[in-house]
Each structure stands twice: as C-alpha cells, then as structure tokens.
C-alpha cells in the first residue's frame, strides 16, 4: 500500500520566486554577516593607500582563518542548543602537540598531522560523551574539560617553543595566484566536512535537537548520536585551527589568554554569523564570515588611525549591532511568557 503517490504534478508557476524568497529567508543570518564583512573589507581596502595587495590579503586571511576555524568548531555545539567553552583550549592543546609531532620529513609530519587531528577528535568526543551520557550542562562540562586540556598542553610544552615541518608550514601560509592557502583550507573544510555533515542525518539531527529536543526525540531522531557527533566534530575543527596556528607561528605555546580569547571570540563570531544561541538555526559558513568581521574591526582601526587598544570596544559594538538585528523577532511575540522560554 503506497500512501504517497510517487509522481507529482509539475510545480505551479511562481514557485521559483517562492523558492528564492524562502531561501533568502532561511539564509538571512548568513547573508547579513557576508554583507557586514563585505562592507568592512571594502572600506578597509579603499582607505588603505596601497590598495589590497596579495600580501595584505594573505595576512588578513591567515589571521581570520584561525578564528574562523575555532568559530566553526563552536557552531556545532551551539546549533544543538549547547555551548563549548573548551574550543580555545583544544586549539591551544593541538598547537602545542603539533609543535612536537609535526616535524621531520614529509612522512613523519604527515603522521604527526593525523595524530593531532585524532587528539582533537578525541577531546571533542570526550566532551560529547560527558554531555550526552552524563546528562550534564555543556557549559560546565566544557569549562572543566577545557581546564584539563589546557593542563595537558602545559605538560606537553611548559615553555613556548618547538618547531614545525617547514615545507608544510610554508604550504599552509603562502598564497596561490593571489588566493591564500588559508582561504583554500577554509573552502576545503566547508566542502569536505561541513557540507556533507549538514546534509547527513546526524547533522540535521543537531539542528532538530537545538530546535526542540522533545520533538526531535518524538520524531525518532537519534538524539544521543547526533549530539555526540556535534561535539566530536567541534574538536576536529579546533584541531585544524591548532595545526594552522603552528604553521603561522612555527612554534607552540600554552598560553591561557590566547585560549580564552579564542573561546570567547568564537562565540561572538558564531552569533554575528547568524547562529542562534538558543540552537536550531545557523551555519558554520556564517561563522566564518562572523570571524572575519571580528578580525577586520582591528584592521579598520589601523587605517582610520584609531588607537588599536580600543579594538575590544569596537568589536563589542559590532557584536551588539549584529545581535540586535537577530533579535527583532521578539517584536512578534504575543504572549509575554514566551519571552522567558
């Protein structure tokens, strides 16, 4: 017995326009972040006397890509309605580890990279296991595990230092016909990891959990596995960022301020990128642009001759601005009790 007919009449005319408007509506957060970034970057290029040379773009991309990757990591737990305070610590831990193991010849460096990525996955997996099976709040779990991961990075590298396979580092930080390697890396991560994840059952499960965990469970979504994967992939993204940092600095350093800075900024980047902290809405692509918006603020201050010390102030203003646009929806609420849910 087939209830649903397999063939369907051709879509009525006008659907194409509908399709576009629904797409636009669904992507509004992402598009806003892209627009803000585009405006800021164009202003930057225009004010810059020498114009946008390949070198300047490369430097900007390298700076932005680190935060972009950590923000991508943060995006996944946030989509499930959680938060990961350990992404910055995993980032630093994998940086320290990479400065020890991604060394020597190409073969040894290659296996070093695999090891670092594996450790990132493991860190995220541990977070996920505790959150899912311990039924604890993600914010406190990741605060604790983050401290553990930072402790590990201190154990690996008590003093800053180490090295990295030079050819690999150069490969990751140069640019190809004007396109920085880091941009290629981001595109690759989006195409090879994020997109397939987004289109998988567990990826959509993450959105479902963030949207309404009860309804997700009732609909037969594999809630535990979807959440576990979200935290695990967050660890992987943070580890990619850690390796990139090693390539940029040619060394590893267990710096708590760096870890905390990246953790907090990743949350800002995620929100600017259109991901809701309530969960269920958003994308890692938006977070990339959110990260670049936050990084461009600093560059803009320089070209406008404003003291760079004021950077946090302007980053804060941009963040508030982006968040306010996202919360216009509460004007539609008809029952005040809904505001508190």
């Amino acid at each position: 017995m087939s209830v649903v007919p397999s063939t369907q009449a051709a879509a009525p005319a006008g659907r194409a326009r509908d399709n576009f408007s629904h797409w636009l509506l669904a992507q509004r957060g992402l598009l806003l972040a892209v627009a803000i970034f585009a405006v800021m970057f164009l202003v930057y290029g225009w004010k810059l006397n020498v114009g946008l040379t390949a070198n300047i773009i490369n430097t900007a991309a390298n700076k932005g890509a680190l935060l972009a990757l950590v923000a991508m990591a943060q995006t996944l737990p946030v989509i499930t309605g959680g938060l990961d305070l350990s992404v910055g610590m995993i980032f630093v831990l994998t940086n320290c580890l990479a400065s020890v193991v991604v060394v020597g010849g190409p073969v040894s460096a290659f296996f070093g990279i695999l090891l670092v990525l594996g450790v990132g996955l493991l860190c995220g997996f541990i977070n996920g296991v505790i959150v899912v099976y311990g039924r604890l709040q993600p914010i406190i779990v990741t605060l604790a595990t983050g401290a553990v991961y930072f402790g590990c990075s201190l154990a690996i590298r008590p003093q800053p230092g180490g090295s990295v396979n030079f050819e690999f580092a150069d490969l990751m930080t140069r640019s190809w016909a004007g396109v920085p390697s880091t941009v290629i890396l981001l595109i690759a991560v989006v195409l090879l990891i994020w997109m397939p994840y987004r289109r998988s059952v567990l990826g959509r499960g993450a959105y479902a959990i963030g949207s309404s965990e009860q309804a997700a469970y009732m609909s037969g979504v594999p809630v535990a596995r979807a959440r576990l994967l979200a935290y695990t992939l967050a660890g992987l993204f943070a580890a990619i960022a850690g390796i990139l940092l090693t390539c940029i600095t040619y060394s590893g350093a267990a710096k708590a301020s760096l870890a905390n800075d990246y953790t907090l900024n990743s949350i800002g980047a995620v929100v600017i990128g259109g991901t809701s902290l309530f969960g269920g809405v958003g994308s890692a692509v938006g977070s990339i642009f959110g990260a670049f918006v936050m990084r461009t603020v600093g560059d803009l201050l320089i070209v406008f001759d404003i003291n760079p010390v004021l950077q946090p102030l302007f980053v804060g203003i941009v963040l508030l601005f982006a968040v306010s646009i996202g919360s216009l929806r509460i004007l539609r609420v008809k029952n005040k009790l809904d505001l508190y849910r």
Binding site: V3, V4, L25, Y207, A208, S211, M218, V221, V333, N335
Partner: protein
C-alpha cells in the same frame, strides 16, 4: 493472510502508573485494518497515556502490545515508527526551526550517496502535503513562520509520509480551519478504503459520528465499553464517560450578595484566534468556575486578565473602571489587586531551589520593605500568619521548596499570592496532581477567601470540583463562553454536554447520580 482473524493492533492488560497516580489500569484495546476507531473519555481518562504507550513515548508497567499478532516492545518512539505506527499528537511534535520538508522527512529521509537527497525530500514532502490537502504550504518554508493551522497540516503530512499501517490522531483537528478538517476527513475515509487502521481521539461528537466505525470509552484509566459507532446515543455515551467513583466533600456554598457591584467585568475580550469575545462578571465573595475541555482558551483568558498577553482587544473593568492591564507587575498592584495561581507550579509558580520563606514573600516583598530593605519583623509576622492559614508544616520554612510534596508546594504558591491581599484571585487548575487531603484544604481555603470578600475565578479540569466549589460555571468552547451554569443546572451532565457543545442533551432530567 493471518489478518483475517487477528486484528492489526491488540493491546492487552496495559497498566501505567505515574508515581502513585494510576493513569491506566489493565486496559485492552483493539483496532483493525480498514476501520476508524474512536477513543472517548473525559480529561484525564487515560486516552493520551494509551497513545503514549502505543507510540513508545512511555513504557507501560504491565501488559503487552501485539501487532499483526506478534508481540512488540516499543522502547523509543523510533521503534514504534519502524513498526508502522505514526502518531499525530495533540501537542505538536514539529521542529520549529527546520523547513516543512525537513520536518516531514525527519524520521526517514531519502538518501543519496550517504547524504540527504534534498530534491527527493522536497518531492516527497510535496506529495505528502498533497495527500492531506495542504498544497498551499511551501516545502521550503520554515515551520516557525507558519500559522498554527498550517503547522497542524504539516504535522499530519509528516505522519502520512511515514506510510504507516496504523495512524493515530490525538485531537489532531483542534487547530484546523473548517476547510482543512473537511480535507483531512476525506483523506481519512480514503485511507480506510485502502485498508489503514486509524485510531481517532476527539472531543467533538459530530466528528466521531461522521468518521468512526467503532468507539471505545475510557474512564479513570479503565476501559468501559467498546461498541459499534451509531449503536449508542450521544446521551448514552456521555453517561459512560461520566460514571461515578468518588464524591469529594466540599464546604457549603455561601451565596454572594447578588446586588453588589462586580469587581471584575470583562467585555468582548479577544486575543489572536484563541479568545473570541469573552464577557464575564465577577463579584466580591463569588467563586466562578471556568469549565470546558482542556485547551478551549481557559488558560489564555487567565493570562490575558493577568496582563501577559500582547494585543488583546476588549475592555477589562476593575470595580467599574476600565483598566488596561499591561504586566503581572501591574496586575498585582493595589489599583488592580489581582493574583494568578499558575498551573505549572514548577516553572511559573515557584523557584524550587529557594527556601519556603523566600518563595512565600517574593511577590509581596515590596509590601514588607522600606527604602528597598526587607523589614525582617514584618516579614516574620506575615509568614507566621500564612503558615497558620495554609497549615503548612512550619519545620521546613528555611528549607528548599523542592523538598516539599506537590500538595504543600501548591499551598505555597497560593500563600505567596495571598500575601498581597488580592481582591481578585485567578486559579489555573490548582488541584491537578495533588492528593485528596490537600485538595480538601484548598477548597476550604477558597471558600474562606470568598467569605472574606475576594472574588475568585477558578479553572478546573475536574467537573466534581467545579460543581462542588463554584457558585457559577462558565463553559468555554473555542475561546468563547458558550454556556453559564448555576444552581440546579450546574450538573456534571450539563457541564459535559456544554463542553462537547452538544445542545440536545442539555437540561434533560438527571438520570445518573
């Protein structure tokens, strides 16, 4: 085919307890292919629990489920889905941030190379929407952006896309427009022809008369009778649903002075589509009940009076003066003098980790403080008085509220608001889920409050309670007061008939009792 003799679904000896509360007791239920089986009963009769057991949401304490004669255990909703059972719940089970197509295919999306095939998913969603008659809904729309009636159509389409053998509809048409209901009915009749088994829960007798082949009546978690649709009159069915088990002891009514000025007067109150032109008057010393089936706007009415709904129309008069109540803060102020005892005491009524003392004084803390500092002795006096009045065991005053029993927690919610000495008290089903002894105390408390001059508006899902406690009962249906019952006309039969909006059985002589 074995189906000739075994019914598609057979449930035997199903028992479910929640703590000490019996939700289902040794219940049996059957439904066969090509039949629409209506499940009837009052609020809390156990219909929804049965559905939850059947769809794997809760596990029964005893009993077994047979599908095609084979015993099944549904540990999770996914397991019931795989067995071919699809359920459309009363409370929507949609994911608001996902698209319509995502929602429809969430359980079992079409896959291609290990990825969700969005093109195929959209086709499937469009087809499922077409089956239920919701072609106007765009599959790429986000569910949150759809109005309630459209969401419910998506919910139905979602169940259909699973191609179930057994479809359960639990009050699935309550939010639909008349045109949608007609489409859904046409679909259900067609599905019946095609051999699907359908379990249909509705409080609307005319829907049951139109659709059902078989009817089963539940009462107090027990199976009462199963019969062929049309073999009993509406009257007989109502009697089966009422039954009699226990009679609560209620304090005697004291009549309010009928000539006193109403302290609360509501004229043409409307909100969204959930409240439609509500009119009511409330006098000092009066206990007025709100009756009707769950979800007919009773809760919204209380919230609207208490100032939490935005965009209400109509007039609210407090002691003759038109007041626009804008927030709970305003509602509890001396100019209005209102209190709302909420239904969900864990979320809206109490701060569970805080002490009894803090909870009791929270809403009235302004009254006991000078220049922003709490006056300890005034607080102490007020608390002692309240503990006395409510008969709360005083040894737990400085312990967390979470440590108390449900009944005592409810008393603290009430006490918290009485601290403000309100003249209008709104109660939203205050006795749900609490023990009989505490219920009695609450009834007596209500009566004492009324005698001291408060006006009480009291929503209850328990008909006994409405009859025993109230001077008058307003029955709501679809957000409108469709009937006011008082005196001799305030009977369980009339209440149920009005709640179901059956006109022909009203005011017939009482045969039960």
């Amino acid at each position: 085919m074995a189906g000739e003799t075994t019914p598609l679904l057979r449930m035997e000896g199903i028992t479910k307890h929640y703590g000490g509360v019996r939700a289902l007791e040794n219940v049996r239920f059957e439904c066969d292919r090509g039949r629409i089986h209506a499940l009837l009963g009052e609020n809390g009769a156990g219909k929804s629990t049965l559905i939850k057991v059947l769809s794997g949401v809760v596990q029964p304490n005893a009993g077994r489920i047979l599908l095609d004669g084979r015993p099944q255990v549904f540990a999770r909703p996914a397991a019931a889905n795989e067995a071919g059972i699809a359920c459309i719940f009363q409370e929507l089970s949609l994911l608001p941030d996902l698209t319509v197509a995502d929602n429809i295919c969430i359980t079992n999306p079409p896959m291609r190379f290990g990825q969700i095939d969005y093109r195929a998913q959209r086709k499937r969603a469009e087809a499922a929407l077409a089956v239920v008659g919701g072609e106007d809904i765009h599959p790429n729309a986000t569910v949150r952006d759809l109005p309630l009636s459209r969401r419910q159509m998506v919910e139905i389409a979602k169940a259909m896309a699973r191609e179930p053998k057994l479809l359960i509809l639990d009050e699935a048409t309550s939010a639909l427009t008349a045109a949608d209901v007609a489409k859904v009915f046409a679909m259900l009749k067609r599905l019946r022809e095609e051999g699907m088994a359908v379990v249909y829960i509705s409080h609307r007798m005319h829907e049951i008369a139109e659709l059902a082949d078989d009817c089963t009546v539940f009462r107090n978690g027990q199976h009462v009778e199963t019969f062929t649709a049309g073999s009993k009159t509406d009257n007989a069915m109502v009697e089966m649903m009422i039954g009699r088990e226990y009679q609560n002891a209620f304090p005697p009514l004291t009549r309010a002075k009928p000539d006193s000025e109403p302290v609360l007067k509501v004229e043409n109150l409307s909100w969204q589509r959930e409240l439609n032109n509500i009119n009511l008057e409330l006098r000092p010393g009066e206990v007025v009940g709100l009756g009707g089936l769950d979800g007919q706007g009773q809760r919204q009415l209380l919230l609207a009076l208490f100032g939490t709904l935005i965009g209400t129309t109509g007039t609210i008069r407090i002691a003759g003066e038109a007041v626009d109540i804008t927030s709970p803060q305003h509602a509890k102020s001396d100019t209005v003098g209102m209190a709302l005892i909420p239904e969900d005491r864990k979320h809206e009524g109490l701060m569970l980790p805080m002490t009894v003392r803090e909870n009791l004084t929270f809403a009235a803390v302004d009254r006991m403080s000078k220049w922003g500092l709490v006056d300890r002795s005034a607080e102490e006096a007020a608390i002692t008085e309240m503990v006395e009045l409510l008969k709360i065991r005083s040894d737990g005053i400085d312990g967390p509220v979470a440590a108390l029993s449900g009944g005592n927690q409810q008393k603290i919610v009430i006490g918290k608001w009485l601290m403000n000495k309100p003249r209008i008290i709104l109660l939203n089903d205050p006795t749900r889920g609490i023990d009989v002894g505490t219920k009695q105390e609450i009834y007596q408390l209500l009566r004492r409050l009324a005698e001291s001059g408060a006006a009480i508006l009291f929503y209850s899902t328990d008909y006994d309670e409405l009859i025993g406690c109230c001077d008058r009962v307003l029955v709501l249906y679809d957000g409108t007061v469709i009937e006011t019952l008082a005196g001799d006309r305030l009977t369980e039969r009339n209440l149920i008939a009005a709640a179901l909006n059956i006109t022909n059985t009203r005011d017939l002589p009482e045969t039960v009792q």
